[in-house]
Amino acid sequence: MNTKSLKKYFNEMYAGNGSVREIYEPYTRWLKDLPDGTLKRRNAEAELLFRRLGITFAVYGETDDVERLIPFDIVPRIFGASEWQRLELGLKQRVRALNAFLHDIYHDQEIIKAGIISAHQVLDNGQYRPEMQGVDLPNQVYAHIAGIDLVRVAENDFYVLEDNLRTPSGVSYMLENRKTMMRLFPELFVKHTIEPVEHYPQMLLNTLREAAPPNVAYPVIVVMTPGAYNSAYFEHAYLASQMGVELVEGQDLFVHQQKVYMHTTEGPQQVHVIYRRVDDDFIDPRVFRPDSTLGVPGLMDAYCSGNVALANGVGTGVADDKSTYLFVPEMIRFYLGETPLLSNVPTWRLSEPEDLSYVLAHLPELVVKEVQGSGGYGMLVGPASTLAEIEAYKQRILAEPAKFIAQPTLALSSCPTLVESGVAPRHVDLRPFVLSGKEVRIVPGGLTRVALTEGSLVVNSSQGGGTKDTWVLED
């Protein structure tokens, strides 16, 4: 793979020849006429708004300032209508295939029989849940809410970085970013025709209704959170209130005769759909981790009996694992008979001796990740690491090569961002949220994450990344 050609970064605002890309023209004209210091002033206003609303995010491992703000950047990231349409088709296609894959491996395992993916890859994966074998789910949907991370390297080149099918977060920032932008810059929303995103909670509610056990006319839906100290608690509470449903913790629920109830002031009330933001491992101490206090004893029994729906379903992790990721294009061909519209990043599997020796020889130019890691924890960004860091990571790889994959250091596109010295390019990615019920739905755009440190390619909020409002312009 030629990594040299990736070194030139695509700038979202400027085309290769330095002129402003058409979709950014009205914005740049507006920006040029803005009096000095206005952006910084409004930026301070935005920060105050976020702090007052309590839109915070806890970063694990930090003790002093537990409720930290995710930095919000006030320069929007803009997509044109046709650009977005292509992405949308690709995203829907990918999520349909991933759900088909999950249904298949928990039923007849045709894809294994066809020799496309090995039994070992699926059945020996720590995220494969044998409890789910043969369990039928409404609409055959497992990942009702998927966050697909995309990066752009050129005008027409997008790559899927990873699929998040367990409890993807960030959508509340997408919604609050828009609200904040509309409050700070109403004039921009007059100048542009921007696709709205505010109806996401309604779309989510519809998706959850469709996930309910088939014979329930008026399903009772709840959002289940690990609690107020979870890093994404703000989002859990936000979505529950936006949908008008209860926000529950494990301690609020109990199971009686394979049905799930919540403790209310009027006595027990049956629950039919749980949008749970608690990982598989913690949802039922009788089946998974026995030390979990976040879950509900007997929940899996109720779930497998079809009396309650969980969103996302149990066992989706086997499909968003970084080693399964490699097979998604094949899944699309196998289940849908279609050509993949979105590309995977070329990936080396370190369980393969040939890949391993190549990667070990090229560590300074590669990104190495743990197969089951998430949130940017425990990864190596070769070009940004010291020799000592690389050497230490090498030892970790050698101890257990199969736990790692490697990818070329992608030239993530950059987008103008307000920093100390003014407006300067910073690298971005995009996480659109794909909802699957009876149909697949998606709000235009998603959450743009930005690496605020100059030259950094790590956009994760846990690693000091920020977010931007993402605009999809109407034609």
Binding site: R51, R52, L53, G54, G227, A228, Y233, F234, A237, Y238, A240, S241, E246, L247, V248, E249, Q251, D252, F254, H256, Y261, M262, H263, T264, T265, E266, G267, P268
Partner: protein
């Protein structure tokens, strides 16, 4: 409504109300300390009152020994180690609110969150003047919170649980202020209607915003019996026991539910005793005994409410 949500709303309201009441008690202690102490009062005697009212004299003594103006004020206003301090109350109110953000309006959350952020920006050392400003500020925030709540929240049982918390806490506090003050002030009643009485009982009335109401209703010198009547039996006095129990009973009727039968009965009984009671009888029995009984019954009612609505130990089979 989720039992845990109801519980958080109830405690959110109780803690805001408690912060306000503590600010009131401290404010009066500060005002009183400016008066010449002609009764057998000493500074220590004066500063035990706020500690006794809030029931934290014991833990204070462990930490500071004798009651002193600066130490008591700091301990009850800003000490994070004192679970009953204004600081701790505001923290707990916010924690409860944070857990039920979906059940309160964003305006309510903003008031509680702003209050918490601001109290953390206060200077570590404050003098007498600063503290008076601080007490006013705490009262203002509590007023603001109540106003925002009534002005923005949907009138369902969530509001009923907020009212329940507010008025149980307030009833409890008024009874304690009266009890403790009565104890301290009693030695001076030899001279009913005298200057000491005017200031001492007057400051008690001010601590529960009842000074103006007293003048309006009685148009006469301040007497302990009338002050007690005003704060116990008058239902038109917003911080009186009667007015608080009016609200508690109404909230419990709104909340309803089979499990709340005993709570409603207790509240009804207590309310009836205030509705039909007479100050002469209370004094006949002894005011201290009367108030002790009231506090005991209020605690019992609080326990019953927790049992009926807020606990999470349902037994499916008994339903």
């Amino acid at each position: 409504m989720l039992s845990r949500t109801a519980e958080n709303l109830y405690w959110m309201a109780r803690h805001i109300e408690r912060a306000e009441n503590t600010a009131r008690v401290l404010d009066v202690a500060h005002r009183t300390s400016l008066l010449p102490l002609d009764i057998e009062g000493t500074q220590a005697y004066l500063w035990y009152a706020p500690l006794n009212i809030t029931g934290c004299a014991g833990s204070y003594e462990v930490k500071y020994g004798l009651a002193r103006a600066d130490a008591v004020t700091h301990y009850m206003a800003l000490d994070p180690d004192n679970p009953a301090s204004i600081y701790s109350c505001l923290r707990l109110a916010r924690e409860n609110a944070r857990t039920v953000r979906g059940a309160i309006t964003s305006e309510m959350w903003q008031v509680i969150n702003d209050t918490w952020l601001e109290v953390n920006r206060l200077p570590k050392e404050m003098d007498h003047e600063k503290f008076r400003d601080f007490f006013d500020w705490v009262k203002d925030r509590s007023h603001l919170f109540r106003g925002v709540t009534l002005g923005t929240i949907i009138k369902d049982i969530g509001l009923s649980f907020i009212k329940l918390g507010t008025f149980l806490e307030r009833a409890d506090n008024t009874a304690r202020i009266l009890d403790v003050k009565y104890h301290i002030l009693l030695p001076s009643v030899s001279d009913v209607g005298g200057a000491a009485d005017y200031y001492q009982w007057g400051s008690l009335l001010k601590s529960v915003s009842a000074f103006e109401a007293y003048q309006k209703i009685y148009r006469d010198v301040i007497s302990p019996q009338r002050v007690s009547e005003l704060l116990i039996f008058r239902d038109d006095m917003p911080r009186s026991l009667h007015a608080c129990m009016d609200e508690v009973e109404a909230a419990l009727i709104d909340i309803n539910g089979v499990s709340g039968q005993e709570a409603r009965r207790l509240a009804g009984e207590q309310h009836a005793a205030l509705h039909f009671g007479r100050i002469e009888d209370a004094f006949g029995r002894g005011l201290h005994e009367y108030l002790t009984d009231f506090l005991k019954n209020t605690a019992l009612l609080g326990r019953e409410i927790r049992e009926a609505y807020l606990s999470r130990r349902h037994n499916m089979l008994s339903r």
